[in-house]
Symmetry: C2
Subunit: 337 residues, 2 copies
DNA sequence: CCAATTTGCGGGAATGTTCCCATCAATTGC
DNA sequence: GCAATTGATGGGAACATTCCCGCAAATTGG
């Protein structure tokens, strides 16, 4: 069963040529006679020859592979971003290796090892909610392998990042809630370790301040994005003597779960409590009631990040310019408010 | 900027050893003195040494990589299946390379070339709706590279497949519709080229026959799964003089779109027309009204397929046993019926 | 106590390809 | 007509690693 893989040497022998000439013919080098090239190409086709990228990469030190590390695959966010990234990558001749860290720091570290061992030309990373130490990512910098962060970025590293205007989006969403008459707006925030949590929280606070709504610590809950815990926090909010009339959630899955919990308590959305999410997941327009949310150009984020990475890979000089691309969000008002 | 990658030779020189010994120490070979191994391991750690999988794979002829080719990423189906597959794969020490064919035959062919060039140890495939010719997949058989199909399988090839009991699921769904009093049940089927379409259609027909409901060709529409066309077909059904009182869709996205179209016409679901889907996508329980659908163990499908593939890779003898794993579906009754 | 085995390590081929240098003929320039 | 250039090809090193073979020293067995 051990079948010999067809190599350029097989082709060379068959045609009485040297492997050099065959190699040149296959890579489209000019200094090879048209008839010779033709013969090589035909035989290659006939023998089902496929170039061995391992050998090529070993010698050229380029794998034409980019790694993508994302924390999860549950919401539509990361799959969508990946589609965007793959679109750009495959157009530029790059294969993608995708790893999900499952929101676990240890897994993320293991993933980076896989990427290094596989000699990826660059990586796209969105860190886990647990990640506090960035040594495993700094290795790439030391080795001169480009990194681009997207969505969940690492502030400690001076590399390109692709994010959205979380602060603005959050600010507009909360402003809208206030303008439509809501008085007590709670915020179910993400973990403080994530920059996006912080920015969205700041946007929330800024909007309240602008309209002179007093900040109430009781209404700001930060949680670890473990969706099962939403129930506890929302119930806690609903049990307050002065319960909120609106909840702004850090993302759509949280908002959706929030709606379920509110309804289970016999309250109505939006009549009793308005709910706003963030990201405009695919589901959000389809649920009952359709969710008001801050829409992000997710696919574009993936595209932009991949493009930034490939640009870095292409230019020999690793200038590590810390470009930060901020894409625009848009408030999508639906029936949940 | 051209930095030398740390190799076992660097370690060998530093410790006055041969590369053979370093290699043995790193791979955990027994015949190496504990102190020597310790020294090697420590230096490797200190130098940020990462084994070069390219060189290893080149010589061992094993990449510990499996390829996954799926038609799309839009519904939650394939991302979920991939999560399952990755779960099993990474546990077994395999990296996954994912390609989406975007429902295009040409892209699928290109994807298989990428897989071959990258020397994957095996592939998991779900074909596009366009795929009629399987030569690009048969190459893998010829080269002795294991293939496992899942969901969208190819009948012409004698390799393991993972599917669900489409016929049964469909049969039960339609039976349920009839038992709950529906008289004219339409079926929005998938393209005839896909086995799943055929089986679901057959289940539909069998259920009608069982209850002596006459088959009406007018109510069976086969389409290419291009979601934009659902509007046309559903409107066509609603315009029939004797319009259906239930629509059984080949999958959930189709069912969801069907509901939207029905409502846009001012009709109610389920009062005027019941709608049933297939797959129980993540969204389906959250939409309004929650969708009655045939639930598939999608993640298990991915897991099973990956396990089958890895089993094939591990056993030297390529016995190509054409195992067909049929997983069970379950009818989930919600408010859309 | 000497042969036999084990332990620990080094040398070198092999993996499939690219790329540089060399070769040799044919063509060009003056 | 002869040096210089061009065209087409061959030879071999290099890439980072594994794996087989060999060799010496140390340990074992009777």
């Amino acid at each position: 069963m051990k079948r010999h893989q067809v190599t350029i040497i097989d082709i060379a022998k068959e045609l009485n040529l040297s492997k050099s000439t065959v190699s040149r013919a296959l890579t489209g080098h000019k200094s090879v006679k048209p008839e010779t090239r033709q013969a090589v190409l035909e035989l290659a086709e006939k023998l089902d020859y496929q170039r061995n990228m391992l050998a090529i990469s070993l010698i050229t030190k380029k794998t034409n592979t980019i790694g993508i590390i994302v924390p999860e695959f549950k919401s539509s966010y990361f799959p969508t971003a990946i589609i965007g990234a793959q679109e750009v990558a495959s157009k530029a001749g790059y294969t993608t290796v995708i790893c999900q860290s499952d929101e676990s720091y240890e897994t993320e570290v293991a993933n980076t090892r896989v990427m290094l061992a596989n000699q990826v030309d660059g990586i796209l990373v969105s860190i886990t909610r647990e990640t506090r130490n960035y040594d495993h990512l700094k290795i790439f910098q030391r080795k001169g392998i480009p990194i681009v962060f997207f969505n969940r970025v690492c502030d400690e590293m001076d590399v390109p990042k692709v994010i959205v205007d979380d602060y603005d989006g959050s600010f507009r969403a909360v402003s809208y809630l206030i303008e439509s008459g809501r008085k007590r707006i709670a915020h179910l925030a993400g973990p403080a370790s994530l920059k996006i949590s912080e920015k969205r929280l700041n946007g929330y606070k800024a909007a309240l301040r602008k309209y002179n709504v007093p900040l109430d610590e009781e209404l700001m809950i930060s949680y670890d994005l473990n969706i099962d815990k939403v129930k506890i926090y929302v119930n806690h909010l609903l049990n307050l003597e002065n319960r909120p009339d609106a909840i702004f959630a850090v993302n759509d899955p949280t908002a959706i779960e929030t709606i379920q919990v509110i309804r289970k308590r016999g309250l109505r959305v939006p009549e009793d409590i308005a709910v706003v999410g963030f990201s405009n997941d695919f589901v959000s327009g389809l649920i009952d009631p359709p969710l008001t949310t801050v829409s992000q150009p997710v696919r574009d984020i993936g595209r932009t990040a991949a493009q930034l990475l490939i640009d870095q890979i292409s230019r020999e000089v690793a200038d590590w310019k810390s470009i930060i691309k901020v894409l625009k969000t848009e408030l999508v008002v639906r029936k949940s408010t």
